[in-house]
Symmetry: C2
Subunit: 211 residues, 2 copies
Amino acid sequence: MSPDPIPLRPNSKRQENERIILKAAEKVFAEAGYGGATMQLIADVAGRPKANVHYYFQTKEQLYRRVVSNIFDIWLQAADAFDGAKNPAEGIGAYIDAKMEISRKYPHGSKVWASEVMHGAPIIQDYLEIKLVEWTKDRAEVIQNWIDQGLMDPISPRHLLYLLWATTQHYADFGHQVETLNGGFPLDLDQWQEAKSSIKRIVLKGIGAEE
Amino acid sequence: MSPDPIPLRPNSKRQENERIILKAAEKVFAEAGYGGATMQLIADVAGRPKANVHYYFQTKEQLYRRVVSNIFDIWLQAADAFDGAKNPAEGIGAYIDAKMEISRKYPHGSKVWASEVMHGAPIIQDYLEIKLVEWTKDRAEVIQNWIDQGLMDPISPRHLLYLLWATTQHYADFGHQVETLNGGFPLDLDQWQEAKSSIKRIVLKGIGAEE
DNA sequence: AAGCTACCTGACCAATTGGTCAAGAACTTT
DNA sequence: AAAGTTCTTGACCAATTGGTCAGGTAGCTT
């Protein structure tokens, strides 16, 4: 019934073309939102006819889902920085660095993710309810351990995590605002560095975890 | 040529109907984004035929612009909390309270605003480039004064403001995520209180401005 | 060179979109 | 009660949308 053109052994051509389309889609979804994005525009940005996009991704929703889960995986990976550490200053410091690098390197993906969650996560509820809940629980426990060991002040781990997420995402999601307030120019590398150290300074001192 | 049905002395009926439509529009724009929102859905939520919505707001963009500027004005008003204060703990503390109240009371509007900025502020560039730039400059000066008076640590005022905006907005914009991580329930009043005091505690200590 | 599979795409379609309009209903003002 | 204004809305339209499909090409395997 369904032709289902997905080959058994992923062809290199398919992989490459999917990559190009996903990159274009990420940009268009980020700039226009899910509802505002059109398959035609994605096709144009990817430099191919619309039917070709539909050859690789049958529906708009499938394409969108791939874009979202790609960035979500990157997002979760930043947790590695968290895990190896033996004290809050090291762990949270590294986590801030990692998340800021994500905001800098994947601004489109960050926006797509933010947009998705903001609109009630209609497409990736399952991700949120399983992976994220688990991830948060683990990390909150790490923080609680630090508190119990007297390595930092007794602060609600959950609200600390929200502060970290919000602040680091801000530089991607509200990048346009940040840019406007920077005289119309994107932050340069020095300014990114300044942002990172400002955040780390406030947060680490704020939770009583200075080195 | 254009009928232009706007009466010279704003009728009370018009005011009331505009209010109802604006409220419905705010919700729909927040949940679906500008591109995903439809005039038909807004009309349905407002409980009136689509043509009636078009009677009060000629175009989708005009309606949207009104929704966005309404929330932006509320957002800027929170600055009052900032201004009256004589030291950072009081000023920034009050500002955090005010912005958290906005997140709690106007979650739809906050999302619309966030969405607009995230997509490059195509509709309200002018607002951003004039009002916001000015507002930020003023507030940054207030913070700089506090620093110069030795009332707080020497921290980049700009990045501190970003941290405040991001964190307080988070509870509205990412309300769905917060709710999911709260077992599927919205924060109750005690939890909002806990959020506020956690943020204040971290930030005020973090900038060296404890009372 | 024949056969198979993956890839490609112009033309097309049903559904939905923002927006219009004309004809009338409901108020105010005179 | 007539005249003028504001409000209301079903029916309609041109444009755009996501998605389909048939007929073709390119490249590997035998």
